[in-house]
Symmetry: C2
Subunit: 303 residues, 2 copies
DNA sequence: TCTGTGGTATGCGTGATTGTCATGGACTTG
DNA sequence: CAAGTCCATGACAATCACGCATACCACAGA
C-alpha cells in the first residue's frame, strides 16, 4: 500500500494504457503481451493500494486514483527523459512541441501551419501525429502531446469529463460540406438541397462502434446505402472523383479536394456546424507551444 | 546506455549514497548490504552509460553526470512521495519545512526560532535534524532538506564546489569564545589572554579525520593536551563545569552555558571569527521555507 | 440460443533480477 | 607490518516478471 514500491516499467506501462485505452493495444505498442501488461497494472494497483482502472466492456477508464497516478507517472517519466537527454549531452528538449490532429486537419490546416511556422520560427520543432478525439485527449492527459487539434459537433460537449478539465479554444466554426463528383447531376448547382440526398450512394468511414456514422450526411431519415468505406481522406475523395458516391467533408478539407470533386453546401436541413478546437492541459503554456498555437490560429483564419 | 532502464530502487539507493557519502553507510541506512548497494549503483551507472561516482579513499563523490542524475532522482522520488500522499488522501505536503543544523545551533538558536515560529505561524511544520556541514550540504543537494544552518570559519569558503552553487546567507558573524570552569583561575577576569592558554587541558570533539581539531583554541603553537573527547555539547560543558578542562564554544551557545561555566573572549591571537550561514539550493524559496528563514534571522538577531 | 468478437485475468513454467554471504584488493593509520 | 577503512565481485538463492495457453465476461448478430 505504498506507491514507493512501484516500478518505472510499471509507470511506463500505465501511461501507455492510459493513453491507448486498452491493455491489449498498450501491450502491442510496448512489444509486450497483454498478459504482461495486465500483471504490471495489477502490481501497480497493489502498490498504490487502490484501483486505478475501471474495467469496462470496451477497454479501461482511469479512476480518480488513476488520474493521480497518471499525473505523477507522466511527470516522473518526463523527468527521466530529460535526464537521459542531459546525460547524452543534448540540449534540453525545450523547443519541441508535440501536436496531435484529427484526420481532416491533415490535408490543409496542419501543413499550412507547420510550413508557416518553419519560416517564422525555425528554432521550433513540431512533431505531430494523427488520432481520434479520444486518443488525442488521452495522449494530452498522459503527457505525450502538448497540443491537440480536435473537431467537435453539436452539442459541443467537452471531449472528456475528467478533472482537471482540458483548456479548449475554438479555432473555427464552419458548416459541414458535401463532396460530389463533378460528373454528378448535383454538381451543376452552387448548393444541394437536402431532399436531393435521398437514395444516394455514400462513402463512409469505418464505423468503429459507438461513433456516429461519418461520411454520410447526418439526419437523413432513410437507411443510407454505403457503397464504400475507407479511413483515408485521399482514398475517399478519389472514390468520389471516380463517381462511386458522395461523402461529407469538413470545411478545412475543401481546399484540398482533388480535381473531379466539387465541394458544396447543403440547404434545407438543420445547420450542421462543426468546430475545430485546440485542446491542451490547463496551466501555463510554454513559449514554443504558444507559438504553435498562434500559427494554427493564423492558418485557420487564412483559410 | 539509457537511463530509462533505471529502477526506482536504484534511484532511491543512489540518492541515499549521494546524501551519506559512502556506500556502506547508505547500505546501513537502507537496511541493505554494502554489496547490494554496490550492485545497485553499478546497475545505475550501466543504465546511465556514465560513471556517477568517483571512488575515493574515504568514500565516494558525485561526478558531473552523477549530479545530473541526482537532480532527477530527487525530483522523481519527491514526485512519487507527493503522489503517495495524495492517494492516501492527505493534503499536499506544502506546509512542512525540513531544516538541518550544526550541533552548536541546537542549544539556543534552533529552539528559539522554532518556538517563535510556532507562535507566529502555527500552520508551518518544521522538522529538523542535526548534521555536520558536509552531511547537511549533501542532504540539501539530495533534496532531503530544504534549509540548512551551517557554520563557517575563515577563509569562509563555500561549503562545496559543486554546481549549481548553494544559495548562502550570512546570519551572523561572531567571535569564537572560551568556556572555563568558574573555579578556574582564568575565570576571574572578563577575558583571557592567549598566552595564558599554554599548558591547559582541553575537551575536544571527536576528531573525525580531516576535520580540524574542534574544541581546542586554534593556532596554539604547542601540542594540546586532550583530557577528554566528547561529541555532545551538554557533556562537554558539564565536563568543563566539573573542572576537567577548557573548550571552545561558538557565541550562539554562550547563552546556554550551565552554571559552573564561564564563557569568555580571548585577547591576543588573531580574531577567531565564525559565521552562521543559512544554506539552500538556488532557486525560488517556497513560502513556508521563507517564513522559517525569517524566523531564524530574527532568532539570531535577538541573541 | 448459440457463436464470434471484442476485451481482461490467471495458472504454470522458465529465465532474468536482485538480494546475501564471503572474499579480495586498494589504501590509510597506528 | 597489522588492522582498519572503503569498494568490487564470484557464488548462490529467492523472487519476479515474462510468455503461453486458457478461462472468463459482455455484447452483437445470425
Amino acid at each position: 500500500m505504498d506507491l514507493q514500491e512501484a516500478s518505472l516499467v510499471g509507470l511506463r506501462v500505465f501511461r501507455e494504457v492510459a493513453e491507448r485505452g486498452t491493455l491489449t493495444s498498450a501491450a502491442a505498442a510496448l512489444g509486450y503481451t497483454q498478459s504482461a501488461v495486465s500483471r504490471q497494472i495489477a502490481a501497480l494497483e497493489r502498490a498504490a493500494g487502490a484501483q486505478l482502472l475501471e474495467r469496462r466492456r470496451e477497454g479501461v477508464r482511469l479512476t480518480s486514483a488513476g488520474h493521480v497516478v497518471l499525473r505523477s507517472a507522466a511527470a516522473v517519466l518526463d523527468q527521466i527523459d530529460a535526464a537521459t537527454r542531459e546525460l547524452a549531452g543534448l540540449p534540453a528538449e525545450g523547443g519541441t512541441v508535440r501536436l496531435g490532429w484529427f484526420a481532416s486537419a491533415g490535408a490543409v490546416l496542419l501543413p499550412r501551419a507547420v510550413a508557416a511556422l518553419r519560416r517564422s520560427h525555425p528554432a521550433i520543432t513540431v512533431t505531430t501525429r494523427e488520432g481520434t478525439t479520444p486518443a488525442l485527449v488521452r495522449a494530452l492527459r498522459a503527457g505525450s502531446l502538448d497540443l491537440a487539434l480536435i473537431s467537435s459537433a453539436p452539442p459541443f460537449r467537452p471531449p472528456d469529463a475528467e478533472s482537471p478539465p482540458l483548456a479548449l479554444q475554438v479555432l473555427a466554426e464552419r458548416s459541414l460540406l458535401l463532396a460530389v463528383p463533378v460528373s454528378h447531376p448535383l454538381a451543376s448547382g452552387d448548393s444541394v438541397d437536402i431532399a436531393q440526398l435521398h437514395g444516394q450512394s455514400w462513402i463512409a468511414a469505418q464505423s468503429t462502434g459507438a461513433d456516429q456514422l461519418m461520411g454520410v450526411w447526418p439526419g437523413l431519415d432513410e437507411r443510407p446505402r454505403i457503397a464504400h468505406t475507407a479511413r483515408d481522406w485521399l482514398a475517399k475523395l478519389q472514390l468520389v472523383a471516380a463517381g462511386c458516391g458522395l461523402t461529407t467533408v469538413s470545411a478545412s478539407l475543401a481546399a484540398a479536394a482533388p480535381p473531379g470533386v466539387r465541394v458544396l453546401p447543403v440547404r434545407g436541413g438543420p445547420r450542421e456546424r462543426r468546430r475545430v478546437l485546440l485542446a491542451r492541459l490547463p496551466g501555463p503554456l510554454p513559449e514554443p507551444a504558444a507559438r504553435v498555437a498562434e500559427a494554427l490560429r493564423a492558418a485557420v483564419e487564412s483559410g
